[in-house]
Amino acid sequence: MSHAGPIPLPQPTRLSQPHWDGCKEGVLHVQRCTACDAYVFIPQPVCTHCQSDQLEWVASSGRGTVYSFTTVHRPPRPEFETPYVVAIIELEEGWHMLANPVECRPEDVHVGMPVEIVFRQMSEEISLPFFRPA
């Protein structure tokens, strides 16, 4: 995954700031409900499983597998150099997130591929999560 220029970076909200702070520190932060133990992502004000507001930020192992993926050949903006892969990663705690697989060829990505998280600093404020073969 490489970029030919600046890509639109996340603008953290009060809700999402702990996630992006974690990325900056090299830790994948996700919300977990202390009432029902469910993982919640993307960040929410209440647990989407039991509606408790007792959510805490915890560190994910950052390990998982590719749940689904697509290789993009026609990017939404020219800064994304094609081809690149967008995947849904199923983390080993059972929750899902979108990200780009890196450090492998697009044609090597497959459903079920074991991956681990790697962070890349994109700006002073933002490091993005990527996943590489594990």
Binding site: I7, P8, L9, P10, Q11, P12, T13, S16, F41, I42, Y67, S68, F69, T70, T71, V72, H73, R74, P75, P76, R77, F80, Y84, V86, A87, I88, H96, M97, L98, A99, N100, V111, M122, L128
Partner: protein
């Protein structure tokens, strides 16, 4: 099951000219849609309308402003879009809030060059945009998982796209009228987001559309063939394009809506003659055939082969060419599903596209966008 929807009929259905870009003022195009819709009702005029759901994409005209343009008489106004707008208006008519409802929308002068794509296909969310996601990629993530689980082949997706595009090729009002293609052509077109080639994806275009509805009783006094609402359902599972489109959670979106619609109608998929399904990407047809009960989950890829979904087959889908070939204009494209159903049920299509249908299923929305709305229409009022 008795439903207040059963007391309502669609009496007017009209599309303006559709094109990749339309260079007339949007309000003029909208008024063309309104006049055309009323003209096709066989006797209703603007003075009969007391329910309004009228909008435009670029100028952002909305219903209350439209009421003023139409003379400022007291009107019920609707606020939803597409099939939910039709259901909303039907419930308003059935509840006596209005008697004649007009739903119209148009988009013009948005696309000023060929490479522009629909603005709503560019999600800007913080958990999406930075990974290079956009609408074809979101839907491709659904298709990939289905292919992994069930062995669905690219040829099945290409067959869907070619079938729909060949319907549009036969429809004189389709943007891609005369543009026939084969599954091989679809597979040979450039890749956008695997497994979607260019010809698996909706076009972008402009145009307007209008539907006119009234009570079944008043419809019988008009010089037109009323098309009756038999059932409907609307399923929303959250905001589109902000979270991972996980097949296990969202892949069946619309299943509940279809089950509700069939229960209200007292019908099953076997009773449906024509399927005007939402077709933003080829795979969504396979998905909906499964979710709506036309085949079992995982069997959609085999189901679409061998001419079954073409006009002349047992399950003809998207007989106007749909978003792939007919048009994909603003919010009009959502209304064009029921409009195609009405025109098919009225027998207004050219011979080469005529199904001879009495019952139609229509849908809006798709798995990648986490919503799906369903409506059943028929030539006979529900018992």
């Amino acid at each position: 099951m008795s439903s207040p929807l059963h007391h309502v009929a669609i009496v007017g259905a009209y599309n303006t000219r559709q094109a990749r870009a339309i260079d007339v003022p949007e309000t003029e195009l909208l008024l063309d849609a309104v006049r055309g819709g009323l003209a096709s009702s066989g006797g209703l005029g603007l003075g009969d309308v007391d329910g309004v759901n009228v909008s435009s994409s670029v100028r952002r005209l909305h219903s209350r402003e439209a009421v003023m343009l139409f003379g400022g008489r007291p009107c019920w106004t609707g606020g939803d879009i597409g099939i939910p707008a039709v259901l909303e208006a039907a419930l308003a008519i059935s509840a006596g809030l209005c008697e004649v409802a007009l739903i119209a929308t148009a988009q013009a002068l948005q696309y000023t060059d060929r490479v522009k794509t629909a603005p709503w296909t560019r999600p800007s969310n913080e958990f999406v945009e930075c990974f290079g996601l956009f609408t074809p990629a979101e839907f491709a993530l659904m298709a990939c998982r289905h292919m992994h689980l069930y062995g669905t082949q690219p040829e099945a997706l290409a067959t869907v796209a070619a079938t729909i595009r060949n319907h549009g090729a036969r429809h004189p009002e389709a943007i891609y009228h005369g543009r026939f293609c084969t599954p091989e052509d679809v597979l040979a077109s450039r890749m956008v987001a695997d497994p979607f080639h260019l010809l698996d994806c909706a076009t972008t275009s402009e145009g307007g559309a209008c539907l006119v509805m009234t009570t079944a009783a008043r419809a019988r006094d008009l010089d037109c063939q009323p098309i009756y609402l038999l059932g409907g359902g609307t399923d929303k599972q959250g905001m589109a394009y902000v979270t991972a489109p996980v097949w296990d959670r969202y892949g069946q979106v619309g299943k509940r809506a279809a089950a509700q619609a069939f229960a209200q109608a007292g019908l099953t998929p076997a009773d449906v003659d024509v399927l005007e399904l939402y077709d933003p990407f080829s795979f969504e047809i396979i998905r909906q055939l499964e979710a709506f009960g036309f085949c079992d989950e995982g069997e959609g890829g085999d189901f679409v082969m061998n001419g079954r979904i073409a006009v002349g087959g047992v399950c003809p889908v998207v007989t106007n060419g749909g978003l792939l070939s007919f048009s994909h204009a603003g919010l009009a494209q959502l209304l064009q599903k029921p409009i195609s159903a009405v025109q098919q049920l009225r027998g207004e299509y050219p011979q080469a596209l005529t199904v001879g249908a009495q019952v139609a299923i229509t849908s809006n929305g798709g798995s990648g966008a986490l919503f799906c709305d369903v409506m059943l229409l028929g030539t006979e009022q529900a018992a």
